[in-house]
């Protein structure tokens, strides 16, 4: 918030200002705003009829349940793994650490289809690297829930870590060392000192992962295969319904998915200011502490 009323740059020529405003509003309106509004209007064209129809369709309820289950399990895995991984990356030194932290972002740059393909190649029961062995033990991963959970976990993997790592780095390990020297064991230190410090970053990461997991389409579609009905998640169902000319149902399910994601975003927006001001305050305290000789 650096711009002040005295700023010459901020108060440039009014023509340019209006051109920029218009460009921004126009671009976003045509690309995002108008289409989104249209879809909402079409969903509610027949009142809430589309919703009650959709919710009475067993395909829809099954897909929604499946999506929620898969997303929740994936988020829990990412939560545990993400916090552990962040601690590992920030607090410990080991060979290959730099490579690992570069690889963490990899899932964001990989096409969901490629994610699906990768998992199929390794865990396929017929010719996968591990698939045959697992299949012999009666464990099926591809074309079943475990595979879908893995695919979802894969695509949402970096989200928790990216939130937690900077906070952990900011926090430093002074307090943890103090706790240790006062006789706390590792678990107590984590529970009483580390976790409260990274609490908001973790919540933020979890909410983002949840939004991402609910909407995952490509990767899940590849690993879920065509076991009709059984492994159809909500986003895949949207495609099927739309292509079967059941547009109203497709719109209704889409609306539910978007509503869930928007709720996630609003939660994040509400959390963010508090976290922000807190870190600013910490930074100020830090600066003040440094000035004292």
């Amino acid at each position: 918030m650096a711009s002040t009323s005295s700023s010459m740059v901020g108060s440039g020529s009014p023509v340019l200002k209006w051109v920029l405003r218009l460009a921004v509003v126009g671009y976003l309106f045509f690309l995002v705003g108008w289409p989104s509004a249209l879809i909402v209007r079409r969903t509610f064209e027949g009142g809430t009829q589309a919703f009650s129809d959709a919710l009475h369709d067993p395909d829809v309820t099954h897909a929604l349940q499946l999506s929620v289950t898969v997303a929740l399990v994936a988020v829990v895995i990412n939560l545990l793994f993400g916090v552990g991984m962040s601690l590992l990356l920030v607090r410990y030194e080991f060979p290959g650490k730099r490579a690992l932290s570069a690889l963490i972002d990899l899932p964001l740059a990989v096409s969901p289809i490629v994610v699906g393909l990768a998992l199929v190649l390794v865990y396929n029961p017929r010719y996968g690297w591990f698939g045959e062995g697992l299949d012999a033990h009666g464990i099926q991963i591809i074309f079943a829930k475990p595979g879908m959970i893995m695919a979802t976990t894969f695509v949402a993997l970096p989200l928790v870590i990216r939130e937690v790592v900077p906070v952990l780095e900011d926090m430093g390990d002074d307090q943890e060392q103090a706790a240790n020297s006062l006789g706390a064991n590792g678990w107590q230190t984590f529970w009483r000192v580390t976790l409260p410090g990274i609490k908001w970053a973790v919540v933020y990461g979890v909410v983002l992962s949840l939004a991402r997991s609910l909407g995952e389409f490509g990767a899940v579609k590849v690993v879920a295969g065509n076991v009709s009905g059984e492994t159809t998640t909500a986003p895949v169902l949207v495609q099927q319904k739309y292509q079967n000319f059941e547009q109203q149902t497709a719109y209704a399910v889409s609306f539910m998915l978007v509503a869930a994601a928007v709720v996630c975003l609003i939660v994040v927006a509400l959390l963010r200011p508090s976290e922000h001001s807190q870190s600013r305050r910490l930074a100020k305290n830090d600066a003040a502490a440094k000035e004292i000789p």
Partner: protein, 247 residues
Amino acid sequence: MIWFSLLVLIPLAAVVWTAGEDGLGAFKDALTNKQTFNALKLTVLSSLAVTAVNIVMGTVIAWVLVRDRFPGKKLIDLVIDIPFAMPTIVAGLVLLSLYGAESPLGLEWNNTRKAVLLALAFVTVPFVVRTVQPVLEEMETDVEDAAASLGASRATTFRRITLPTLAPAIFAGATLSFARAISEYGSLVLLSGNLPNRTEVASVRVYSSIEGGNQQSAAAVATILLLVALVAIVVFDLIQRRLARRG
């Protein structure tokens, strides 16, 4: 570590391995197959175009959000996050409502290349904006004011002072949006019609190879996509460094 390897590293290695099993044969087949080559070409060119649009529009949007003040700004802030929150398949549906058949604008862009550009632009809106915005917020205007008071024109001030400061953020956002654009799948399924040689992108090509049971050619195209992403990351990083140094 083991979990990370099982989930990410080994499967991705399997893709590269499968593609390279017969030496470079699979890659050669992929690149000499006209349909695959066209899909890759379309993907890379559209992604570059969309990234260029994002570099300009994203910076302008971030600028307006930080430096300008007008009613409804909060709303714009919210709208920018919509593409991020929307499941990709829904993004396709949404764009179809305005640019598809029965369009209120009378534009029937579905199943054309314009649709591919639209979808990619839609899903990549937030990236540049969200990386540039915090940097612009932190940046003080006093250097710009000083330049202006010393007689630099607005264009000069922007080019010599503002742009070099923002360049790293702009290119970080551009890298993200390019990586996202070349790997996009969900939003294109309904919108682009996936016409071979015309609107079929690389991800769709990979999917149809998997469906057709041709894992090796799927893996070859997937590996090429990974390589393109890698090259892009390096190139964008180089451009960004050069720009930052010029300031």
